[in-house]
């Protein structure tokens, strides 16, 4: 088989996981790191090889690789099968490329951590599952990766398991994801019931062949898939785990909770676009969820003080954009943004990690300031990331975000477009807020506050990170600048290469986009740049020029501020409305009443009845001979009467 090397793409990281996981404990750190890097780098190389094959003119647009059956019962079989098309290829490039960079960064970042081997084993495990996820040729294998990355995420969030908060966050992530998976599973069951297969090609071919199938079952399946996606991609209502996931080490946040895993939901929706095309309802739901999530998360991000949390809410918000794009059937836009976001968000997280690293584990921005000079490489790379996400041309974020907003507008969802636009302004504002608070203003001597954030108590004095960490930063910064150039729209003189690249998957660009006039696209872009600039100006004013004005403003609107600072109390609401009632119901009704009362009680009652009978039987046994004779006489009399007159009462006709 020409492409059988594809199997090695996921399997090599898995091998790395096994080696490090089983015997890594005994290895020196360098060996552990070498193994982890090697088993990530080689797949990256293989992906490049693959890319060169597919990019080449006349190269295959789609590669199918069928392996052994995995589940096989009469009438239904699922194979281990990979399917590579351009979408997959793009994802592979992102995952292995960004993944490798972050691995590299982590070797430096985690250098002094306990459980070094464990960390890299988990990281490799993540790579394995993520690669399975994108390579899968059927829903079930995708689900393997889907759950697997969730597992890796669980393990990595809870990496500092001694900390209750970390263990809690890991658990929360897993369980919230499981709620999504619940939907995913049901969707798969419905697909099986309808199509008797889970293979993408077969399912989508069947759907595509029946344009008359609209709504109904299609909507049901699509919505259940969306539920799965909201879990993994941290959308309303299941986004709550992502901010907490920042308990994990920063490279983890960069890789899993920004660049790759959280985009799995987007990938899955994009992958299922044929299905979604048959359910306008589901698409609308996706769009609305995306838009709402975008602005909702952004608004929370406005007032967060933990540097990683700001980035986390930003991630949620950006994922909302991607969702929005999917919802308006702009899958290319979604994937485009997915890619650029992977670059700049990974960059931002890594840079934030570098900041945290530099000042000894502190994550609270109120304790930061004036770091610009102390850690210049970090500062500059982060600046690139901030500008990129804020949406300033010609950096990557500008093109992808603009594509989404344009498509939204073009598809007639003006309200959603407006929401997206406002979000863009907010994004700009909170990112620059972060930038100003961290790098400008008064320098503060870091307080060694070990209970907070990553366990970096070893740090002495503020210092720039080692090269092994700054090199990935630099590479990502470059990507954040140029990454968007593959999608420069025609209005800007570009050729929208990514659209062509993905067209085998998503089909040729929708008619609406093709016919839209360049001026309107140009105008819309100008508006969004303007909004981003406004965001910057606000941030500049409040956090650089006149720090303190905002404090006063917040004082005036205490209520609103509190709502935002407390993240709309969503965690509390979930807790109060779902978790606590469920537990109370279980404890009182199920465990208390049903289990102790009904289930145990029935047995106990029967037992007591029998014992009561035993008591009576013993009562008869008084020990007195005359009583016994009395019973005998009575018994004899009854027997005689019964025998004489028959047992008509008992129906003894026989």
């Amino acid at each position: 088989m020409e492409f059988s090397y594809l199997w090695w793409i996921p399997l090599l990281p898995f091998a790395g996981f096994l080696i490090n996981g089983l015997v890594g404990r005994k290895f020196p750190r360098t060996v552990v790191a070498a193994i982890a890097l090697l088993f990530t780098a080689v797949p990256f190389g293989l992906v490049l090889k693959l890319a060169s094959t597919m990019f080449a003119s006349g190269g295959p647009e789609q590669i199918s690789l069928a392996g052994a059956p995995w589940i096989s019962v009469s009438g239904f079989t699922v194979n281990f099968a990979f399917n590579v098309d351009h979408l997959t290829l793009l994802m592979l490039l992102i995952v292995t490329g960004v993944g490798f960079l972050i691995h590299l960064y982590a070797t430096g970042y985690m250098a002094h951590e306990e459980g070094y081997w464990r960390f890299f084993a988990y990281l490799n495990l993540f790579m394995f599952f993520m690669l399975v996820l994108v390579l899968a040729a059927n829903f079930l294998l995708l689900f393997v990766g889907w759950e697997g990355v969730g597992l890796a995420s669980y393990l990595l969030i809870g990496f500092y398991f001694k900390k209750d908060s970390a263990a809690n966050a890991g658990k929360k992530a897993f369980i919230v994801n499981r709620i999504g998976d619940f939907g995913f599973l049901l969707a798969m069951f419905l697909i099986i019931a309808q199509f008797h297969t889970l293979n993408f090609t077969e399912v989508f071919a069947q759907i595509a062949a029946h344009p008359e199938w609209q709504g109904g079952m299609m909507t049901a399946i699509a919505l259940l898939l969306v539920l799965g996606a909201t879990g993994k991609s941290a959308q309303i209502p299941l986004y709550v785990w992502l901010p907490d996931a920042m308990e994990g080490p920063t490279p983890v946040s960069a890789l899993i909770h920004a660049a790759t895993m959280v985009t799995a939901g987007i990938y899955m929706v994009a992958r299922s676009h044929v299905l979604f095309a048959h359910s306008p309802t589901a698409l609308s739901v996706v769009a609305v969820i995306g838009a709402l999530t975008a602005i909702f998360a952004a608004s929370i991000g406005l007032v967060q003080n933990d540097i990683k949390r700001v980035l986390a809410y930003s991630t949620v918000s950006q994922l909302g954009y991607m969702f929005l794009a999917c919802g308006v059937a702009a899958y290319t836009g979604a994937i485009f943004h997915l890619m650029t976001h992977a670059f700049f968000k990974a960059l931002l997280f890594l840079a934030a990690g570098s900041v945290i690293h530099a000042i000894g584990g502190e994550q609270d921005m109120r304790a930061m300031g004036g770091l610009r000079k102390k850690i210049p490489v970090t500062f500059w790379t982060m600046t690139v990331g901030v500008i990129a996400i804020a949406g300033a041309p010609p950096l990557a974020g500008f093109f992808s975000k603009d594509e989404i907003l344009y498509q939204t507008f073009a598809s007639g969802h003006v309200v959603l477009w407006a929401i997206g636009l406002v979000t863009a302004g907010m994004t700009s504002f909170y990112m620059f807020r972060l930038w100003f608070k961290t790098f400008f203003g008064e320098f503060q001597e870091p307080a060694h506050d070990t209970h907070h954030g990553d366990d970096h108590s070893h740090a002495h004095g503020v210092h720039e990170s080692p090269a092994i960490m700054t090199i990935p930063l630099a590479i990502l910064a470059v990507l954040s600048i140029v990454g968007g150039w593959v999608g420069i729209p025609k209005a800007f003189g570009g050729s929208m290469e990514i659209e062509h690249f993905l067209s085998p998957v998503f089909g040729e660009p929708a008619a609406v986009a093709a016919t839209a006039s360049h001026p309107s696209e140009f105008g819309l872009a100008a508006v969004s740049v303007l909004v981003a600039a406004i965001g910057f100006i606000f941030a500049y004013v409040f956090y650089y020029k006149k720090p303190g004005t905002l404090g006063a403003l917040a004082e005036k609107n205490r209520g609103l501020y509190n709502v935002l600072a407390n993240k709309f109390y969503i965690d509390e609401i979930y807790n109060g409305l779902i978790v606590v009632p469920t537990l109370m119901f279980t404890r009182l009704f199920l465990a208390g009443f049903i289990d102790k009362g009904v289930v145990d009680g029935t047995g106990a009652t029967l037992g007591l009845t029998a014992k009561g009978g035993g008591y009576l039987a013993r009562k008869i046994q008084s020990g007195n001979i005359r009583s016994y004779a009395g019973w005998l006489a009575l018994g004899a009399a009854v027997l005689l009467i019964a025998m004489t007159f028959g047992l008509k009462a008992f129906g003894a006709t026989h």
Binding site: Q621, S622, G623, N624, I625, R626, A629
Partner: protein
């Protein structure tokens, strides 16, 4: 000429009186005596039926019942003596160590 049934009813009366006496009496020996009364009632029945069927079997049965009764009396009275030795009472109402 007496109807056989009269004898039988008489036997029934005696038998029931035997039961009643068994129930009423507290003295173990008297209870035993009541049993003898019941046996006698049965004997009467036997003889009446023997007369009815004109067969000797009934009478012979009574003969054996008498023998058995004698044997029972020997053993029963021995048991009563043994009881009296260990309990110093003949009142059945006080013979109730075993119960429950």
């Amino acid at each position: 000429m007496v109807p056989i049934s009269y004898y039988l009813v008489l036997a029934a009366i005696l038998f029931s009186l035997g039961i009643a006496a068994y129930l009423v009496k507290r003295n173990v020996i008297t209870i035993f005596i009541s049993i003898e009364l019941m046996l006698n009632a049965v004997n009467l029945t036997f003889i009446a039926f023997a007369h009815q069927w004109n067969k000797l079997n009934g009478q012979i049965f009574v003969f054996f019942v008498m023998v058995v009764a004698a044997a029972e009396a020997a053993v029963g009275l021995a048991i009563i003596i043994a009881l009296f030795r260990s309990r110093q009472t003949l009142n059945v109402d006080q013979v109730n160590l075993l119960k429950g």
